[in-house]
């Protein structure tokens, strides 16, 4: 191999780089969903939230000139969609899985509708921090150009882990998820707690979307998400509602997404369609291995409709 190339090292480097670049949306959506599901409700609509977040972040960044305002507005959009989900779910006899599917459709449709004029313009992007300063190899430098949102997500996972265990509201969310009667007996409004949990979940998913449009791949178009939001929801289940496991799972997913192109670049060309589907195979395999029909999943909130 010639001077500038690094040959087979591309693959592990791309997987690490991919883990950093591609994992952030998975991380934010899964952490958000983790909070929502811990409160006993599932929001499958985060795919729609992610896409709405991506679109609104791009639009606001373009019109305001500040990507950070874009990120914030993506979060607010997500929180509003979360509130809508929680609002509808709080009606009697309404199924939260169905509402999620409805909002997936609605969110995606609305984002495509409003985002039409945003496909062409170029909006200001989020900056990156250079963590590869110690290396002379440009590939390493590039792989370690990290966005602040990624760091924020990585920091959020242990914070949530701790908060679920040690803080009052963490306990409250978990209580609501385990037994709404218990929460009610303690004098709390179950609906209100779930509303907040779903809004926070939506907020984080919206921010995950802003990463897609404002950092990587870094522009708005209609194929941007390609199911990352819904995959991230699946990820929460096999991460057993544990924020730290969500972090590792997201990183594994990002790495898996980078695997296909990286393998081709070093000459493994067979079956790239199958390699591209690697993240889905991976999720399914892990779910098959970790689930069991005999007992309820460890860590599963008892009130969650999909685990009952």
């Amino acid at each position: 191999m010639a001077d500038a190339g690094i040959g087979l090292w591309t693959v592990p480097l791309a997987v690490i780089g991919g883990a950093i670049r591609v994992s952030t949306p998975f991380l934010f959506v899964s952490l958000g969903e983790c909070i929502t599901e811990r409160s006993g409700r599932i929001n499958l609509g985060l795919e729609g939230t992610l896409v709405m977040g991506a679109m609104s972040a791009y639009g606001i960044s373009y019109f305001s000139g500040s990507p950070w305002i874009g990120v914030l507005s993506a979060g607010i959009t997500g929180a509003l969609l979360g509130a809508l989900h929680a609002g509808i779910c709080s009606l009697p006899r309404v199924n939260d899985v169905a509402v999620g599917i409805a909002l997936m459709l609605f969110g995606t449709g609305l984002a495509f509708f409003l985002g039409k004029p945003l496909i062409e313009p170029t909006a200001p992007r989020l900056p990156a921090i250079d963590f590869g300063w110690w290396s002379d190899i440009p590939q390493v430098k590039a792989a370690l150009r990290v966005n602040v949102l990624f760091l924020f997500g990585v920091a959020l996972a242990p914070v949530l882990y701790w908060a679920f265990r040690a803080t009052r509201w963490g306990l409250l969310i978990r209580t609501t998820g385990e037994s709404s009667d218990a929460a009610r007996a303690m004098g709390h409004s179950v609906l209100l707690i779930r509303l907040r949990a779903t809004m926070v979940g939506g907020f984080l998913a919206g921010i995950g979307g802003s990463f897609l449009s404002l950092f990587y791949p870094g522009s708005w178009n209609e194929g941007l998400s390609s199911g990352q939001g819904i995959t991230a929801v699946a990820l929460v289940i096999f991460a057993r509602w544990d924020p730290m496991l969500c972090l590792w799972a997201s990183l594994a997913f990002g790495g898996a997404a980078a695997l296909g192109p990286a393998l081709q670049s070093v000459g493994v060309t067979f079956g790239y369609h199958l390699f591209n589907a690697a993240p889905y195979f991976l999720t399914l395999a892990i779910m098959i291995i970790t689930c069991s029909p005999k007992r309820m999943l460890t860590g599963a909130p008892a009130e969650l409709s999909i685990t009952r």
């Binding site: 190339g5 690094i6 004029p117 062409e120």
Partner: protein, 369 residues
């Protein structure tokens, strides 16, 4: 047929003077406008394939006596048959441009036999003489423009490594990759092109990952063949690589990194078609051409293109414009060492063998399967 004698501007002025409305409208009600329907498979402002067609449609919109209707994101299922019929039945369209390759078989064929009075112009060059006479196919030899882009890329690359982000290993894509590589090797005989297939026409995350992987391999000039090159162009430019565009001019996305690009020139072709219809001579069922016929064009050179590169590229372009130039000629060896075109054989643009291309030429790193 010699189309080059009419320049684009003269054509536009000419057609305006012809008062197309009366010429075409004579067939239907007196002063009614001729309605032309455009159907796109994706979003018409994708900075790529669909936008190129929409730019052509936009030129027609400005011409008097024409009414242009458009529908985007129409899938390649019976939905497109219904869209075409709806444009005919509800809007009175008499000329249709179903622009996506996958619309032709079976959808355009089926609808064309059902509506013999409507003209169907499909982009893709698939028409054969067994197909309905009111259907037609047009396509451009965009590999000519890729060849020139390759020359510029070959001169500009310092590492001699070029990258190509491609959707699927189909003949049209392989032909572009090969032409780009052959062009690059005119400039730098040691140049190589590394290819990554993303698997589909619009996969932003995969395209971005492919771009990064290529640059990690030392590639410093990239081009692509996907529906929307925006992702590749922006991500390559961010990492300091140079890019050659595709479909339309992407220079506004990366003014410094943009070298040149292979573009469609539908805004020149579509008015010609309309004029042919108006004059009564009709559009040929099979219509193809390259740079000379103004169906494709090369983007203006960017600031990073050296004087040598410009000169070399312009020379080759002049040959295309004058007499035509054969890109694929023997002896040509593929990247597995097999001779694919024997010495002495020249495969001109119209050679049907080129339509079946299933190899990557020597100098391309990658495989077709």
């Amino acid at each position: 047929m010699d189309f080059s004698s009419i320049s684009r501007r003269r054509l536009l002025q000419g057609s305006a003077a012809l008062t197309l409305g009366t010429a075409l409208g004579a067939r239907s009600a007196a002063a009614a406008d001729t309605t032309i329907g455009f159907i796109y498979v994706g979003s018409r402002d994708d900075y790529g394939y669909n936008q190129a067609h929409a730019a052509g449609a936009a030129v027609l919109k400005k011409m008097p006596g024409l009414k242009v209707i458009e529908e985007e994101k129409v899938p390649e299922t019976d939905a497109v048959e219904k869209t075409m019929e709806s444009m005919i039945n509800l809007d009175g369209a008499t000329l249709l441009f179903p622009t996506s390759f996958g619309y032709y078989n079976p959808h355009v064929k089926k609808t064309a036999s059902k509506y013999p009075k409507v003209r169907f112009e499909h982009c893709g060059g698939l028409w054969t003489d067994k197909d309905p006479k009111n259907a037609g196919s047009y396509f451009g030899y965009i590999d000519e423009a890729q060849y020139i882009a390759g020359i510029v890329a070959g001169h500009t690359s310092k590492s001699g490594k070029l990258g190509f982000v491609a959707a699927k290993p189909i003949p049209q894509v392989l032909r572009n990759i090969n032409a780009f590589t052959l062009g690059a090797r005119l400039a730098n005989p040691k140049a190589t092109t590394q290819v990554i297939f993303t698997g589909d026409w619009s996969m932003p995350v995969k395209e971005a990952e492919a771009t990064n992987s290529l640059i990690d391999q030392g590639v410093d000039v990239l081009t692509c063949h996907v529906d929307g090159p925006k992702t590749m162009v922006e991500n390559a430019a961010r990492r300091g690589a140079f890019v050659c565009g595709y479909h339309v001019n992407q220079a506004p996305l990366a003014p410094k990194a943009y070298l040149t690009g292979a573009e469609w020139n539908w805004e020149a072709l579509y008015p010609k078609f309309v004029k042919m219809m108006a004059s009564g001579e009709g559009i040929p069922n099979f219509y193809r051409g390259g740079l000379k016929e103004e169906i494709v064009k090369v983007s203006p050179y960017g600031p990073a293109v050296s004087e040598t590169a410009r000169k070399h590229a312009d020379e080759v372009k002049a040959k295309f414009m004058a007499t035509g130039l054969t890109i694929f000629k023997g002896p040509l060896v593929d990247n597995k060492g097999k001779t694919v075109i024997a010495a002495g054989t020249e495969r001109g643009q119209k050679d049907p063998e080129l339509e079946k291309m299933d190899y990557l030429v020597e100098g391309v790193i990658g495989a077709t399967a």
